[in-house]
């Protein structure tokens, strides 16, 4: 199948006062058209930065050290900011976590959707296009004239989805689109996204800290820990038989895995500080299956069944790129 998005060996570092702090290392994945890849991991693991790296919308101190991003066969790595403006919105749409903050409070919904239109249409055609898009995301035509604060969180997220899809991009990146919404609304937004990607045959990068939610609607799943992908594969494989101890713990901690009366489980330890990553495999301090070499060396991704897993339980080679 044709790959819509190919991310190869992405490494990102923050260049602040003293030495650079590496956040992402060796991040690699692909998304075919019509396919949904879920990127999961605890908050602070680097999911948002991965998404922003793809469209090169990084904070000023962040720099891509290595890696290549190909979108519909075109490499984005060497493109200028000017050329990226043409890619953003047109070929890839983004939806973020907190809809109320991501809408500009002083412009109407209609205005903000309409300005995103990239093809040169007449005013009237643009209005029609927006009206059609509003209907598609389940908003009323009257919302065209409304300001963001007049809409509920769910409706705001619908407006942002309309904005992201108005140019019919081939890739949608949704960064925790339901995290700030209540459960009922979240379910509605998820099913809306599902409908839309099916209808437009969109590739979707779905970012979530919630592995259960990701499992519910992704074709494939990538698990991120401390800026590294530790496991990637078909959702069924990863979710039903997790190989990496981290994935295993994530799934074991899900509320639905509890028996009545059982105490809440959490992965012991805390998310590491990027400025002082543990030596070897960054997960080893929290790992219940660590071996001696995990303290010293960082593993490569090893193929296991239909998945790739970054753990010495499944192979011997040491990673060349990740780490320092």
């Amino acid at each position: 199948m044709e790959k819509t998005l190919v991310v190869k060996n992405l490494a990102l570092a923050f260049h602040q006062e003293r030495r650079p702090v590496t956040i992402l290392a060796g991040v690699e994945f692909e998304i075919s058209s019509g396919e949904t890849l879920a990127l999961v991991g605890e908050s602070g693991s680097g999911k948002t930065l991965t998404a922003l790296s793809i469209v090169k919308l990084l904070p000023p101190q962040a720099r891509l050290e290595t890696g290549e991003v190909r979108l519909n066969g075109q490499s984005l790595t060497s493109l200028s900011e000017r050329e990226m403006e043409n890619i953003r919105g047109r070929q890839v749409g983004l939806v973020f976590q907190e809809p109320s903050a991501y809408l500009n409070p002083v412009f109407t919904i209609g205005n903000q959707i309409e300005e995103a239109i990239k093809s040169s249409l007449s005013r009237k055609e643009k209005k029609e296009r927006v009206a059609q898009m509003l209907a598609e995301v389940g908003l009323d035509e009257k919302h065209y004239w409304h300001y963001p604060h007049q809409l509920s969180g769910g409706m705001q997220q619908r407006a942002l989805i309309a904005m992201a899809l108005i140019n019919h991009p081939s890739l949608l990146i949704a960064d925790e689109p339901t995290t700030s919404l209540d459960v009922t609304t979240a379910v509605q937004i998820i099913s809306l996204i599902k409908t839309l990607i099916k209808k437009h045959h969109l590739a979707l990068l779905f970012i979530s800290h919630d592995i259960a939610l990701a499992h519910y609607f992704a074709d494939r799943m990538a698990v991120m820990y401390a800026g590294r992908l530790v496991e990637i594969g078909p959702t069924r494989t990863v979710f039903n038989s997790p190989r990496h101890p981290y994935t295993e713990s994530l799934i074991a901690c899900l509320p639905e895995k509890y028996k009545p009366g059982e105490k809440i489980r959490a992965i012991p330890g805390t998310v590491p500080d990027f400025a002082n990553l543990p030596s070897g495999c960054p997960f080893h301090p929290r790992c219940h299956r660590r071996m001696e070499r995990c303290f010293r060396e960082e593993p490569e991704m090893f193929p296991v069944a239909s998945a790739l897993v970054r753990c010495f339980l499944y192979g011997n080679s040491v990673a060349t790129e990740p780490g320092n």
Binding site: R88, G89, A101, N104, A116, H149
Partner: protein, 321 residues
């Protein structure tokens, strides 16, 4: 939105009345029998006293006097100046015009410079341009307006490039309208510059910070993610949000036209309301003081009203309240 504006304008009326009462009481509740003082003041002719007695009911109780006064205000009779022996309305009209001209000039100059400079500095954050501008703003903020005015007067006196004091040159009578205008403007330049320099620093700093804050907002990321060109991201999405909080400041500046310019007027000898009020207070020209207070208060309320209306037009979140 229209309803909100109508409501605000209606609130304006009782406020105005409250203000007349306040202006009146401040003067009349001051200790001492002020009517007898008037009569004993050799500067005031018996005819003036008699006329004012009739018009303002000076022999009546204070509360009745107040209503006489309000009635007179409504017909633009602000009483007669004891010191100048002309109607106060006449005095105030000319002086007020000068003050308004000065304030409009300096407010326009301040805003037209501070806003672009603030945006420029925000975009050059961390570069030497920002450092230089911010250092200059810091100096400007620390110097009081009267000091800047004195400095400019001193410079003007040394270099003779700008006239000092007054609104006109001697050749005034023979000049054409255009020449008169240019001459007036030349006289305005010195106090105008003093006020502008005194006000620009804080406004610049505010604009820079607002713009930076707007630029760091999530909706800017949305705008960029949509692939909008920088012009739209900066001057549509960021600018509108950065300017909103400034609108209230603009209202305050309108409110403070009289008080804000007074010191500079006095130092640069610009014949505006500041000078007039000071002289009136010193010479106990009571009705002139009351009338000036009234106008000051009127501008204060009007400024707030304009600010509120502008804010409502600019910010949809307030519009619905």
């Amino acid at each position: 939105m229209r309803r909100y504006i109508v409501r605000r304008v209606l609130q304006f009326v009782p406020l105005l009345f409250g203000m007349t009462l306040l202006s009146f009481l401040i003067i009349h509740l001051a200790p001492g029998d002020y009517f007898t003082q008037l009569k004993m003041n050799p500067q005031i002719s018996p005819e003036t006293i008699a006329a004012m007695e009739r018009n303002f009911g000076l022999d009546k109780p204070v509360l009745v006097q107040y209503f006489y006064w309000v009635k007179n205000i409504l017909t633009f009779n602000l009483g007669e100046s004891f010191a100048y022996h002309v109607p106060n309305a006449f005095l105030i009209k000319e002086r007020l015009l000068n003050t308004v001209a000065l304030s409009v000039f300096s407010i326009m100059a301040t805003w037209m410079l501070a806003i672009p400079l603030g945006i420029y500095a925000a975009r050059k954050k961390g570069c030497w341009q920002e450092t230089v501008l911010s250092a200059a703003a810091y100096v400007g903020i620390s110097l009081p307006s009267f000091f800047i005015a004195m400095l400019l007067v001193f410079l003007a006196a040394r270099t003779m490039v700008l006239p000092i004091g007054g609104t006109t040159s001697i050749f005034w009578t023979g000049a054409s309208l255009w020449e008169k205008f240019v001459d007036y403007l030349r006289h305005l330049l010195l106090p105008g510059m003093a006020l502008t320099l005194a006000g620009i620093g804080s406004l610049y700093r505010l604009m820079k910070n607002n713009f930076l804050e707007a630029l760091g907002s999530p909706y800017i990321l949305t705008a960029r993610a949509k692939g909008l060109p920088p012009v739209l991201v900066l001057y549509k999405h960021a600018l509108r949000n950065a300017v909103n909080p400034m609108i209230t400041i603009f209202g305050y500046e309108l409110s403070g036209i009289l008080s804000g310019a007074a010191l500079v007027e006095i130092i640069t000898n610009w014949p505006g309301m500041g000078r007039l009020i000071l002289d009136a207070v010193l010479s106990q020209d009571l009705y002139l003081v009351m009338a000036s207070l009234l106008i000051g208060g009127f501008l204060l309320i009007l400024g707030n009203l304009i600010a509120d209306i502008l804010l409502v037009m600019a910010d949809p979140r307030i519009r619905l309240r």
